[in-house]
Amino acid sequence: MRILLSTVRHPPFGYGGVGVYTDYLARVLSRMGHVAHVVTAGEALSRRIAPGHFVHYLPFPDRAPFGTGILGDALAWSMSLWQATEEIDRRWGIDLIETPNSVPEAMHGLMAARSGKHPVVVRMSTPTALWQVNDGWKLEGERLTVCAVEEELLKCAQGLIANTHAVFEDARRCFALPNGLRRQVIYPGLPTDYGVLSAPSDMNDEVRVLVLSRLQPSKGARALLAAIPLVLARDPRVRFDIVARDVAPWTFGADFRKRRPDLLDRLKFHSGITEDRKKELLRRCHVMVAPSHYESFGMMYVEAMAFGRATIGCPVGGVPEIVLDGQTGLLVKPDDEQALAEAILSLAADPQRCAAMGRTGYERFRERFTVERMARETLAFYESVPGRS
């Protein structure tokens, strides 16, 4: 089968959840004998990674005719994507297009679905309306229009893959899903050999807590940065590695560094790190923390599980489908720094429990969250979609 996958961010230049699973999915699909074209934004060199695996980097076009803002960006990029889709179809042929649910990619998905040339499958993570509301935005103007794009896309698409059961329920809550739309929950995954199960180092002198997140309200940045001083004050062994950057217009990280310079010898903010460096931090840590108020899936929990590390999150969105409270990690009330601090301190105080959770998490990763399983289920779903030539 010849599949076109779109993502605005793609490794090695972008590591958003969609970009990461798209990259892995394309690799496995091509290994299974199918052809995967990934279209993505960038100035980098377009390339044939392997037989049947292409990545096309499209320079961002002039958006002047479309105006500024999220809609202008989405339209400009979708225009390029659409032109690329037509050329790829002419040169190699396309049997099916898969698109993420949100803009900018969704605008291209909608163009493709309305053209009726190829069946379109939407892979749904957080509905656009939800992440905007979670970040405190009011749904009006362009922010509402991008929700309309998503709703329209779901009306025209031939299939819907939801990342988790929670996402599927959220999609139903936000949109009136068409009755005939084929749908399935397929968990995204990582390669089986992404991480290596290794025993964490002893915690006698040092407990390393890794944060994989973004510093914005919906990711629980406020509670996280409020919990850190509480933890550091009570357990002198704890060190934080924070792989999380400020996301405009918020300045949580910068404000914290100004406010608490006294803590900076026990915590490190990492920015612009490579995938190898992230894996090194995952291997070295004892616990991974991501206290998001909402995650449709949460690939960072799976990344930590692939290294056999305990995880801490909140019982929101799809997180409880990944992190089993008390078995592979702990789930704490969102936006509650006291609860978060207590959870970190409790695992820091109990190395055996921490290691046992990591081992159980690793087994769960191998069983449920590999990209090989994701690709098999996805292909079966593609085969079932109506309108495939």
């Binding site: 090695p12 230049f13 100035e43 980098a44 060199l45 377009s46 390339r47 044939r48 990674i49 392997a50 292409f54 096309h56 499209l58 320079p59 076009p61 005719p65 479309f66 809609l71 339209l75 979708s78 225009m79 390029s80 659409w82 032109q83 690329a84 050329e87 790829i88 040169r91 605008m107 909608l110 163009m111 309305r114 309306a129 509301v133 749904l139 009006e140 509402l144 229009t145 929700c147 309309a148 794009v149 709703e151 329209e152 809550r173 936000c174 949109f175 009136a176 560094r257 310079p261 803590l263 900076l264 010898d265 915590l267 490190k268 903010f269 990492h270 920015s271 612009g272 790190i273 490579t274």
Partner: protein, 128 residues
């Protein structure tokens, strides 16, 4: 929907806007010529492509951390950007025709540029 997330009348208007903007996009598409960027073969380009990617990532990081036009080394930054994006990329796209000596020279150039970039725009990994 258990709890409406938006005003229904506004949403109807938003759907109309989607139609209008897609029409606009179709008009732009008809006006603009497009050519798919040429493909390099990752297996043949190999380590050079990896180096080019690494350099590109450093440029992006430098762009993200500081406005290149407002920093003291703006001239060098823009020069490096041109080298990578206008010279190295097209060169790599046609690297299959290059001989070993040219490849080695280019690789040395990439290492040098990486060293300059690492010194001028270090990746921040501290609590600064």
């Amino acid at each position: 929907m258990s709890e409406p997330m938006w005003d229904k009348a506004q949403m109807i208007q938003a759907h109309r806007e989607v139609d209008d903007r897609l029409r606009q996009a179709r008009e732009e598409i008809a006006r603009r010529p497009f050519r798919l960027p040429p493909l390099a073969d990752a297996e043949k380009a190999g380590p050079l492509m990896t180096l080019c990617d690494a350099l590109e990532m450093r440029l992006r990081e430098a762009e993200r951390l500081a406005n290149p036009l407002s920093i003291p080394h703006a001239g060098r930054f823009l020069f490096l950007q041109r080298v990578v994006r206008r010279i190295m990329r097209p060169t790599l796209e046609h690297q299959v025709r290059m001989n070993a000596a040219t490849l080695a020279a280019l690789r040395a150039e990439v290492h040098l540029l990486q060293a300059i970039l690492a010194a001028q725009y270090p990746v921040r990994e501290s609590g600064e």
